[in-house]
Symmetry: C2
Amino acid sequence: MDIRKKIGLRIKEYRTNLQLTQEALAFKAEIDKTYVNEVENGKRNISVINLEKLIFALEISLREFFNSEAFDGGLTK
Amino acid sequence: MDIRKKIGLRIKEYRTNLQLTQEALAFKAEIDKTYVNEVENGKRNISVINLEKLIFALEISLREFFNSEAFDGGLTK
DNA sequence: ATGTAGACTGCTGTCGACA
DNA sequence: GTGTCGACAGCAGTCTACA
């Protein structure tokens, strides 16, 4: 599976846990809401600075975000 | 510390462990060598697709790459 | 509330040359 | 082997509007 999809799924997972809407998360992370939507759907190749902003808004650390079997393997391509 | 610097340091750490030159790593990851240099020095905001390529070339997983105290805190800005 | 589309700006990422 | 400097194409990221 594409790295973008893995990241999108994981963001959605934490977002719904917090019961935030995409719009609310976008506002909290100070990122455009249409962009958050496309990132969640694996359509965008997000940069680390904006990824960090999103993950921080999800109230976790980068370490926790990537601490999943989904990010174990090699290249997903 | 800036997230870009943290990532750059970590890449350098694993690269030197493998005794690869920046050029060799760039070749292995199929990324421009000048770009690898600037990423290592925290000057570039790398995207997840190219970060994954680099980390794969370092023979580790994303999970392992971010599994460090450096990536624990909140926003580094 | 989610998702798509279009148009736009600025930066990511490439490449050649050089100290 | 490392790092910088242009110059460049293409895409990341913003914004408005709509179903």
